[in-house]
Symmetry: C2
Amino acid sequence: MDCHELSETKVKSNTVYQGKMINLRVDQVRLPSGRTSSREVVEHPGSVGIIPIDKDGNAILIRQFRYAVGEVLWEIPAGKLDPGESPKDCAMRELEEETSYLAGRLEKIVSFYTSPGFSSEMLHLFIGTDLIPGTGQPDDDENIETYRLSREAVETMIENGEIRDAKTLLGLATVISRGLF
Amino acid sequence: MDCHELSETKVKSNTVYQGKMINLRVDQVRLPSGRTSSREVVEHPGSVGIIPIDKDGNAILIRQFRYAVGEVLWEIPAGKLDPGESPKDCAMRELEEETSYLAGRLEKIVSFYTSPGFSSEMLHLFIGTDLIPGTGQPDDDENIETYRLSREAVETMIENGEIRDAKTLLGLATVISRGLF
């Protein structure tokens, strides 16, 4: 496949905002046709999500308020990469911070872009098993509740539309289809 | 479940950017503990994705360059809601614009937040069947290639990590698990 004819090239770049989680730039680009257009890009460092499965075969899910959507959501433990941090190290850290567990086994299952129309965020999903107690604590500005849920309970919640977070839906669908949960 | 103890309330809001696809605001919020923190919010109007299945049981996927991630991606047809537009009308419009097909049947399968840590975007996924030729054309600044792919081909691409877009992975996993593809 020759991709050159689809590519867009940067003509000019304007950083609008540099923040704690994201940056925003608005670039002028040249389209394959030769015309120019603008592209809004949210720069994100990347993130991880972990599906923790305990020794009884339950998934550990969390509930937290998400200010950007104004709702409390059911999610898997997740977080963004620190500078220089590997996805696997980040997954172990976030799992401990958000659930107080460490995973004896942590395996990557899939990586994907969360919203490539405007955001650079790539999210790496892991399954975590052989859980052992750690000493983690949520960040100061995170308020999190943790729950253990059977596969049957999770499937009912998915069917009822109670789980509305993309990484959580995709992670659960993947481990269920592979017989890992 | 009492959600009040998880909620965060707005103290002050600062709009940093208003653009063609997204806006950005940075809010000061009060946490359940009484402390304050800041939250970066990308305001997005919401979007749709469509899994078009033709009469031979093939899915129609597209390839397009995504400037925010600097790659050509395999995706389902998708796009953002126009002001006042219903998700279903948007799905029909985007399907026609990006594949030149209309769907005789268009059914919602799931809705989810794409990245609720910083973005308000909710995406509504549809399956489109009974496809008939339309007259659609991509937007001026969209360059799109369309492909028909069997379920076996798609499953191989997923296994090989060739599909790296969240909505596409989740949509395909959902229609495969429900026996619709």
